[in-house]
């Protein structure tokens, strides 16, 4: 059983991620958060194996959330899933040692994230 936390301020993005993940793995458990703060709070009652993390969100953004998430869940696999596809953001993901994936959220994009997690 795999626990996935989808962190995105866009409800439609959370819905699409959930839909494509469950299509591939109907048995996986998915929780959602709409900001970095909510994601960190969620970790007190949910232990994710995989986190899909947006970058630009109101309040705490994805990059700032990574460190706080790692304090609570050091082994979690994090994918930065963002529309902000600038080289600077990719490099930041690289420096943080996390996977980077480009929006839009499509079935192929979610497949790629799952493959990165499973490898």
């Amino acid at each position: 059983m795999t626990n996935v936390l989808v962190v995105d301020d866009s409800r439609v993005s959370r819905m699409l991620s959930r839909q494509y993940i469950l299509h591939k793995h109907p048995q996986w458990t998915i929780a959602e958060a709409a900001s970095g703060e909510e994601a960190v709070d969620k970790l007190s009652d949910f232990t994710p194996d995989l986190i899909l993390l947006d970058v630009n969100m109101p309040g705490m953004g994805g990059i700032a959330a990574v460190e706080k998430i790692r304090e609570k869940c050091p082994d979690v696999h994090i994918t930065l899933l963002t529309a902000n596809v600038q080289d600077a953001v990719r490099e930041r993901a690289n420096l943080l040692g996390i996977h980077f994936a480009e929006k839009p959220i499509t079935e192929a994009c979610i497949d790629q994230i799952i493959a990165s997690y499973e490898s």
Binding site: S10, D87, K103
Partner: protein, 204 residues
């Protein structure tokens, strides 16, 4: 008066063409359809003229997603569609699984996310070309005539602005949208420096 040489003007259109090309590719992945683009139109205009350039026939209502970007230069970007097409666009994005009621309920959020993806994709190309990061705001959603939408814009756009308009079409669904970039005078000077740096890089 702000002026660009023919070469700067050409480079500007080409850089934004590359950016919107990436945006069209992102849009194509969202709707799973081919998206075609027009040649960019670059103009220096006051706000009333901008509204005329961007407006759809007969003052039809449009929905617009706006985002500010700052960094190498400062700009306000817009992605616009006819309002009557927005539900169809959202349907293409989320698929057939939602009822019309659910679809209407999330229309605004879905359109904002489409704008976020398309505008960021475009601006990322511009940032990557220069190697200078552009910081984007969160997207805001507006509905009205083009003039209404620009009237909600900040005071800073009251003077002459540079507009770049590129149309894109999702042919099979007759959905036409356009991307516009507004820059005020100080931003135009920064943009000229940005273009010169780009040209210098090209010519070695």
């Amino acid at each position: 008066m702000f002026q660009l040489t023919e070469l700067q003007h050409d480079a500007l259109a080409e850089i934004f063409n590359l950016g919107v090309g990436q945006a069209a590719a992102a849009m194509s992945r969202i709707v799973n359809e081919e998206v075609t683009m027009s040649v960019p139109i670059v103009a220096f205009q006051n706000r009333a003229e901008v509204a005329t350039t961007l407006d759809s026939p007969n003052e039809r209502r449009i929905c617009a997603i706006a985002q500010h970007f700052e960094g190498a230069f400062k700009t306000k970007t817009f992605l616009m569609f006819l309002e009557e097409k927005s539900l169809e666009l959202v349907r293409l994005m989320v698929g057939q699984s939602l009822s019309m009621e659910e679809l209407s309920e999330m229309e605004q959020e879905a359109m904002s996310e489409i704008g976020n993806i398309v505008l960021n994709s475009c601006m990322a190309t511009l940032a990557n070309i220069s190697g200078r990061e552009l910081q984007g705001s969160l997207p805001t959603y507006h509905v009205g005539t083009c003039n209404d939408i620009l009237s909600h814009s900040d005071k800073e756009w009251d003077g002459v602005v540079l507009t770049l308009k590129i149309d894109f079409n999702i042919e099979r669904h007759e959905i036409h949208g356009y991307v516009a970039f507004l820059l005020d005078l100080p931003a135009m000077n920064d943009l000229r420096d940005y273009i010169d740096a780009y040209l210098a890089k090209l010519t070695g």
